[in-house]
Amino acid sequence: MAEYTTHDYDVVIIGAGGSGLRAAIEAKERGLRVAVVCKSLLGKAHTVMAEGGMAASMGHVWPEDNWQVHFRDTMRGGKMLNNWRMAQIHAMEAPDRVYELERWGALFDRTQDGRINQRDFGGHRYARLAHVGDRTGLELIRTLQQKVVSMDTDVFMECKILKLLPDSEGRISGAVGYMRPTGEMVVFTAKAFILATGSIGKSWTYTSNSWESVGDGHAMAIWAGADVIDMECVQFHPTGMVWPLSVRGILVTEGVRGDGGVLRNSDGKRFMFDYIADMFKAETAKTEEEADRWYDDHINNGRTPDLLPRDEVARAINSEVKAGRGTPHGGVYLDIASRRTPEYIRRRLPSMYHQFMELAGVDITSTPMEVGPTCHYMMGGVRVDPETQAATVPGLFAIGEVSGGMHGANRLGGNSLSDLIVFGRRAGIGAADFAEARTGTPTVDAGEIEAAINAAFAPFGREGGGNPYDVQHELQATMQALVGIIRTGSELEEALVKLEEFKERTSTLTVKGGLAYNPGWNLATDLPSMVTTSIAVAQGALNRKESRGGHTREDFPGPDPEMGKVNFVQRQTAAHGYMAPITIQPEPLPEMPPELRALLEEAH
């Protein structure tokens, strides 16, 4: 018999980034027994990496701003694939969530008249991002972390969850995992579980994501029978570092462009003027002079094309490099040095200054940065009810990058942090309501617990299996080469064949060492999540025979209006679990009410 400790709660939240912590606050305020379980130490989640800000139409800088414009920008940025109701809720509730952070101690940068300042970002009509220099994510996570701690919430740090378990009626009732410092197995039973585990981006070679972002939540939801949507929609952020090689992929905030930085090719040309899609022509500057006037006068000038949505900019950079107009290290130049004073740059972008100085030996106040696309954000994820974030399996909720729909085919910068607090709160309410209404004690099958534990321990006793690090590197190389920023049908088919082989290879790994804080073993238990989410991305990409947002097909270069009317929904139907196949089919998008549709058709 496997040994494990059991903890019982009303609501268990897996993941302690911005959304998980916001959900915990809400559920805790209801007086429920709440636990937060996270794979790293508290306060280290990927949210700390968010730099630029959180989008909310408070109208402090441009009084013309309102939720309707924010909604419109979000839908257009997402290439209309968004769940309209999520985009509406997000735009309507974001300002209240930002003010609420201030009541909990967050200290945002201020306007002249003492209100929360707002900065320009790609795809947003007005300066809309509440921010703290270029460390807004840290401010968000610290504020929520301190609030959670002050509420005496139970936090299980450095705990990896392996699998969700249902009760006999199919309600999610348990989760099995282990404590990383000791290797001791744990089981959580609860009336409701919230998945807040973040992204899947570690499956690519060049990524801004940390080791944690392996898609645990996406994968566990799929294995539990939940629907996932839009898995082909992965965002490659246009500006990651490209040199030195060891830091390739580390993010360079869009705030550099929001604060006046521009993209140039090796000829010194501001090439983004050549890449303005019809959809954005009306609101984008036609000349450099107009673009430069826009920073001070948004009403009478079009926005600089450097701030087109991320998918547009990433593709443009890719094309420039391919055409031989890239930098020596295969990127393009991001130049703020020639456009703003050193004092301004250091004040507005302190961590970018620091990051380039320390890691690349480049002084961004005098020298342009070299940048290129890096895997950054997962738009697709668990199909949820927009009001409550409930998944299609009872007892399960999903938020942040684990949920799909909010951002459609492409997320606008700044909409992620606001997504976390808007839907984190709603999931907290949804899960608390569900837990209060649920009758009986959550029970799970002891045999399933035993099987999950045995599977996790298996690599220790096995002789001659693969090294988890080798398998991870090969998986990343496969996804980078075959399911990257530009995709084609034949390569996606090749990827899917290889990914099936990875299923076998990850089931025969060998791990050395003991149970206590063993990164090799920890990686072995992360690999199934990486393979499952990679398969779902490749399947989605193969089926979406068009280019839309973050999903670009070389063999179908334009958008297809018919494809724009559907989500690709994936789920495990007959059998569940890591080895079971995932089916995929198109399903129509929810119908948008005419009054919202009318907002999208307005010129500005």
Binding site: L138, W211, L245, L359
Partner: protein, 258 residues
């Protein structure tokens, strides 16, 4: 640039351990954490170390590199003496879990004792604050909780017995941050003096020197807090005032109670 680099890494557990040498090819532009990752991927898959963002923003990968507390992700190999072995050891102030990973739960326990932020009544139309007023606390909110200031602080580095009565530099800046926050109405000065042991700090500035965020911990947080505590506690006029007048701020004990 020499062809190879020797990494001398502390391996062990709470029972004990020793430095182990790993010799690897030198790769241009790498930081210490990159080399650790290459060792994990080849020679020692079970080499324990914490890391997350790899960009100096999360404060997970603190270690003592050539005897000095630093973030492994922000320490370029080419800034270390060429030709000599690079030693990497866990932070000394905290109990060992394994290899480079220490048990930093002390810090999370102290965090629970800091009375939460509490704003005064919100005026119609929301709070207004000037940038210059928020910048004082913003400096302290840059803290990434790498705990290297705690590691290097000699009040607890070599004196386990001081830990129960000493919060350490990371929490002195937390007290200062809240004390200087334009909206906060809790008064934590007495708690900082009594419970957190602010008086035990004798301002050697070791914490300031190691802070990767360049927070002026001693000058901007600890010394002003010491002055405020002195004002609150030892000033006879203030003492009399506390006795006679209605207080506008809560005491630390009341604050701690909720």
């Amino acid at each position: 640039m020499s062809d190879n680099v020797t990494m001398r890494i502390w391996r062990g557990d709470p029972e004990g351990g020793e430095f182990t040498d790993y010799v690897l090819p030198n790769v241009e532009g790498e930081v210490v954490l990159d080399v650790i990752h290459r060792i994990q991927a080849t020679d020692a898959p079970d080499l324990a170390c914490r890391w997350n963002c790899k960009a100096g923003k999360c404060g997970s990968c603190s270690a003592e590199i050539n005897g000095k507390p630093r973030l492994m992700c922000m320490t370029r190999m080419d800034t270390l003496p060429e030709g000599a072995a690079v030693t990497v050891a866990p932070m000394k102030t905290f109990p060992i879990i394994r290899d480079l990973v220490t048990d930093v739960s002390f810090n999370y326990e102290v965090a629970k004792t800091v009375p939460a932020f509490k704003p005064g009544p919100e005026p119609e139309g929301g709070f207004r604050m000037q940038q210059i007023d928020v910048e004082r606390s913003q400096e302290f909110r840059k803290c990434i909780e790498c705990f290297m200031c705690q590691d290097v602080c000699h009040v607890i580095r070599d004196h386990e017995e001081n830990k129960p009565k000493y919060a350490g530099p990371r929490f002195f800046i937390r007290f200062a941050e809240l004390e200087m926050h334009p909206l906060d109405v809790n008064d934590r000065r007495e708690l900082a003096r009594e419970g957190a042991g602010l008086g035990m700090c004798n301002i050697t500035k070791c914490c300031t020197e190691v802070c990767p965020e360049h927070i002026k911990i001693t000058d901007n947080a600890i010394i002003p807090m010491k002055e405020r505590v002195v004002d609150a506690h030892y000033d006879p006029v203030a003492w009399l005032g506390r006795k006679i007048l209605k207080r506008t701020k809560k005491t630390a004990q009341e604050a701690a109670a909720g």
